[in-house]
């Protein structure tokens, strides 16, 4: 289950205690600084990666869970890497990948490093933010930060249906396996196909009933979290630190 959905994966920690709005702003600041690093630079991305890794350690998010999320990036980076040798650098100087290895344009390597390190920093920050805050508090923070209503609602529905589908799938699997299903034979592929169809319908109908139950308890299109405690100095300082760190790395690391 996704770390942001599963409270069991959420452990107490210094980042967990911070105000959700401030966390959103702080991580946004850091990612924005990281994303604006100009292409030829390779030291600044290293520094940003270091900062993100440090935050991950501080967050006490289980490393295994975080690493599994990062695997998302592997295909993207590989696809990018595949086109690097063909990058046409203006007056391109070529470097050997390793001594005696193939020659590739230096410019291409820099671009690859730049793009994938930025993506990595972004994803790491997203994982830390979601993992230390949880989806409901995060949505509420977005709402209070005046993110457009439509977006927040869409995200809250994705969240709800994702959980619903996961549960339905678990239930159907259990029902299937309890009746001696063994997914070894190719002619049982039909079972999987019809399960997928049923899963969709069941999740949809359950979603409808959950929606009814929400309406029955006075839901009017706004998820109301616990009214958050007033901002503390620490929350504000966190935003300032993150912004300062981001700017420092961005402009001082050459």
């Amino acid at each position: 289950m996704h770390i942001a959905f599963d409270p069991r994966l959420r452990v107490a920690g210094p980042l967990q205690a911070l105000d959700a709005r401030c966390k959103v702003l702080a991580f946004f600041a850091l990612v924005a600084c990281a994303a604006s690093v100009p292409a030829p630079s390779w030291r600044a991305p290293v520094a940003f990666l270091g900062a993100a890794t440090l935050l991950l350690l501080v967050s006490r998010i289980p490393l295994g869970a975080a690493l599994r999320r990062l695997l998302f990036l592997v295909p993207v980076v590989l696809a990018l890497a595949a086109v690097v040798p063909f990058a046409k650098a203006a007056g391109g100087e070529k470097v050997a990948l390793w001594t005696g290895g193939p020659m590739v344009p230096r410019q291409g390597l820099l671009v690859l490093w730049n793009v994938s390190s930025k993506a990595l920093v972004g994803l790491l920050c997203a994982i830390i933010l979601a993992g230390t805050t949880g989806v409901p508090r995060l949505l509420e923070a977005f709402e209070r930060l005046c993110v457009p209503r439509v977006l927040v609602l869409t995200m809250s529905f994705i969240h709800r249906y994702a959980i619903t589908m996961q549960e339905e799938l678990a239930r159907m699997k259990r029902a299937r396996d309890a009746r001696g299903w063994r997914g070894r034979w190719i002619w049982q592929a039909g079972t999987l196909g019809s399960m997928a169809g049923t899963l969709f319908l069941r999740s949809y109908e359950r979603g409808e009933r959950v929606w009814q139950a929400m309406l029955a308890r006075g839901y009017r299109g706004k998820l109301i979290g616990p009214s958050s405690a007033p901002l503390r100095l620490l929350d504000v300082m966190f935003v300032v630190w993150m912004l300062a760190a981001g700017l420092a790395i961005r402009f001082l690391v050459r």
Binding site: P136, R160, E167, R206, R220
Partner: protein, 235 residues
């Protein structure tokens, strides 16, 4: 004279696929009265309960405490009518049990202190106080049933509509559930197949069959009416 807690008149409802689930149903429940809703599978009990909360749009008229159920006063209706679904998985959807029980009170716009108070009280009443940080989807089925009740108890409704509250409970939990329901002062409509509970909890019973009310009256009398009970396939 005060208005009845529930007044339902000439209620008719078809599901989109054409199934006629309610057929000319009329019913009145006084404030604080406890009524058992009996009937075979598919008789229309759950559908009737949905209509009390404005969750299906039937032909006819539903009034809660004198206020007609209509699109304009739904927030008011939903504050006054607590509905507990037959399947607790439909009711529970928040990350933790606490959040689920707090969902209703927060929608009522209560302050966080009051919300906390109500949640603790409701969880305590259904004997789940120790599990409040657990994700609701990791509770056992019987625990989910009780959690589902807590999610509306915390809203302190005037009318409580319960769909099979005792199914899947172990004997002790079932006894405690009945005892708990007896302590509530709100009007209670309980759809159930648990005839023993109906007898113990509800002075009055209403029997449904194929979307219609076929018998109503004092519970012991209704349960002894072999003809009506047979017609409703409850014998």
């Amino acid at each position: 004279m005060t208005a009845p807690a529930i007044r339902v008149s000439a209620l008719t409802f078809r599901y989109p696929d054409g199934t006629r689930a309610l057929d000319d149903v009329s019913l009145e429940v006084a404030p604080g009265e406890r009524v058992a809703l009996l009937g075979a599978n598919g008789a229309g009990k759950s559908t009737l309960l949905l209509s009390l909360n404005g969750l299906c749009d039937p032909g006819g008229r539903v009034e809660i405490g004198g206020t007609p159920v209509g699109s304009r006063n739904l927030p008011e209706i939903r504050r006054r009518v607590g509905l507990v679904f037959q399947n607790p998985d439909d009711q529970l959807f928040c990350p933790t049990l606490f959040d689920d029980v707090a969902f209703g009170p927060r929608n009522l716009g209560l302050g966080e202190e009051e919300v906390q108070k109500r949640v603790h009280e409701a969880l305590h009443r259904v004997d789940l106080a120790t599990l409040e940080e657990k994700p609701s989807f990791h509770l056992s089925y019987g625990q989910k049933k009780r959690a589902a009740l807590a999610t509306v108890l915390s809203m302190q409704p005037e009318v409580l509509a319960l769909d099979e509250p005792t199914s899947a409970l172990h004997p002790r939990a079932r006894r405690e559930m009945i005892a708990l329901l007896r302590t509530l002062s709100c009007a209670l409509v309980v759809a159930t197949h648990d005839l023993e509970m109906a007898r113990e909890l509800c002075p009055r019973a209403v029997v449904m069959a194929r979307g219609r009310i076929v018998a109503t009256g004092e519970t012991s009398v209704v349960l002894a009416d072999t003809k009506a009970m047979d017609e409703a396939e409850l014998l």
